[in-house]
């Protein structure tokens, strides 16, 4: 039986810059020039209620953020070795993204406090895709 492939993204025109950036080791996200805040995922307007400005640009984010929430998956995708952590990270510049928390020896809730500072780890994958993963600082 062939090994099950990991699900990889297919960049689209409005997200290409983000994926190109990750491959270079940069976290490129978009920021709204009207409300001044970063957002995720990329699209050609600010998704924030009450703003929705189309005056937006790209920035290189610091790769720092906080752990917003997570699960420790014991029965996840067959291409992943369980258990593993699926998390949401709030980026310092604004915007929230899904990720995996890597570099932890002991996957215990006590070692993963919500609100903990995290930083990006650029994780090369197949098909020229680099994924943004995070570790506790």
């Amino acid at each position: 039986m062939a090994a099950i492939a990991k699900p990889l993204p297919q960049p689209t025109p409005e997200t290409q810059e983000y994926w190109d950036g990750l491959r270079r080791g940069e976290l490129r996200i978009q920021r709204c020039n009207t409300c001044g805040r970063g957002y995720f995922y990329p699209r050609p307007f600010c998704p924030r209620a009450g703003c929705h400005s189309r005056d937006v640009g790209w920035i290189t984010a610091s790769g720092k953020g906080t752990l917003a929430t997570y699960i420790i998956t014991h029965r996840g995708h067959p291409a992943f070795e369980a258990p593993y952590v699926i998390a949401l990270v709030e980026l310092e510049e604004g915007g929230r993204m899904m990720t995996n928390i890597v570099g932890l020896e002991d996957l215990e809730p006590a070692n993963l406090p919500v609100g903990a500072p995290v930083e990006i780890v650029f994780q090369p994958s197949e098909e020229d895709i680099t994924l943004p993963m995070f570790r506790l600082v």
Partner: protein
């Protein structure tokens, strides 16, 4: 333009039924489940398919073809498990506007046996495919569960609180012969069941089953001409806030329920929380009813876990919740909302397996997807 309050009590459910069985039904295609439920609901209302001039269901035209009907109003809203509540909501407006007079809503889902079911969708280039899927989310247990740790951190919600939801729901299921899981369980049983995605254990997760249900709605002026007592739609609310769980507005609260669907349903119904004597809160996982109870204002933010731990929702409790045994223990085909409505109708008619005395007004609330879409109904037998 009129006020939605003018639609209060204007449309009633006059037929309601599920498939002959719910559970594991490998001898039924998904469309067969739609049809079996439809015929059962028609029998319940004393009608035939020729009396139907409006149709709603997530499979839309496929079901009109299978049933051989050509309605003058259709609604194929398909936003997951709350779709059927939205179909009811839309049918109220359609009947009041004269688009049609007699609406059939069907649900059929071969969620477990997967007979006659299309391939799951979701491309690698869609936002979920690009920004969530690469991190190993795999189905609802690893998506719906993601916000819980934020709720625990903010409010002190515990695994014991989550377990209590499953325990109370199982107590109702043990009184329902049609429920798939009827053995009583304890908080320890839930916490000792295997981890699926911390903080969720197996017994915090809904079942995966086959089954269906159908409803027939018509206008108030005709509603008393049917064999069963009419169940009136007093209030409704609907919304959507995201598709992918990573984009949920507030990880610690159900924004659309708190800001839109709950307030709108109560406003239209013209009743307060104290008028609600029965709740159906879609329980895909143990935390879903906790988020719902808080967002709808039955308790304050963060008070949902302790409320369930006090067994308020259980038989003999202060406010019965999920009296059929819920998605956790009764049945859960994938899009459970239809079964939540069915149980509310049974309780309001006085024909439920675990009948609660004197139910007059029931609130049904459901998510579609992972807290993605949201809908609320307030139903009454008065």
């Amino acid at each position: 333009m009129f006020d939605t309050r003018e639609l209060r009590h204007k449309v009633a459910i006059v037929g309601a039924a599920e498939t002959n069985e719910v559970g594991v039904l490998p001898n039924h295609s998904q469309l067969q489940l739609h049809a079996e439920a439809a015929f059962n609901a028609l029998d319940d209302a004393g009608l035939t398919l020729d009396d139907i001039d409006g149709y709603a269901g997530v499979q839309g035209a496929a079901v009109t073809e299978y049933l051989g009907i050509m309605p003058r109003w259709i609604d194929a809203t398909g936003v997951g498990g709350c779709s059927f509540l939205i179909h009811v909501s839309h049918a109220v407006a359609a009947i009041a506007a004269g688009y049609c007079s007699t609406v059939l809503i069907t649900h059929g889902e071969s969620g477990r046996s997967r007979v006659g079911v299309g391939a799951p969708s979701g491309g690698r280039g869609e936002p979920g495919g690009q920004f969530d899927a690469p991190f190993g989310v795999a189905g609802p247990p690893s998506r719906f569960s993601v916000p819980i740790a934020a709720h625990m951190a903010k409010y002190g919600t515990t695994e014991e609180h989550l377990a209590a939801v499953s325990v109370a729901t199982r107590q109702w299921a043990s009184r329902n012969p049609r429920a798939m899981m009827r053995e009583p369980i304890t908080v320890e049983d839930v916490i000792n069941s295997r981890l699926i995605a911390w903080p969720l254990h197996l017994l915090n997760c809904c079942l995966v089953t086959d089954g269906g249900g159908a409803l027939i709605l018509t206008s108030e002026d005709r509603a008393r001409d049917f064999p069963k007592p009419p169940i009136y739609v007093l209030g409704r609310g609907e919304s959507a806030q995201h598709q992918n769980i990573s984009q949920m507005r507030d990880l610690t609260g159900w924004s659309a329920a708190a800001e839109i669907t709950g307030p709108e349903a109560f406003r239209m119904a013209g009743v307060g929380h104290d008028a609600i004597d029965h709740l159906m809160l879609y329980d895909a996982f143990s935390h879903t009813p906790i988020y719902a109870l808080e967002a709808l204002g039955f308790v304050g933010p963060g008070e949902g876990g302790p409320w369930f731990a006090e067994m308020n929702s259980a038989p003999g409790g202060t406010l019965p919740v999920n009296t059929n045994g819920g998605g956790l223990s009764y049945t859960h085909t994938g899009m459970y909302g239809m079964f939540a409505i069915q149980e509310a109708v049974r309780q309001l008619r006085g024909e439920a397996a675990a009948q609660v005395d004197g139910v007059r007004t029931s609130l049904v609330h459901a998510p579609g997807g992972m807290f993605s879409a949201t809908a609320t109904l307030i139903l009454s037998n008065e």
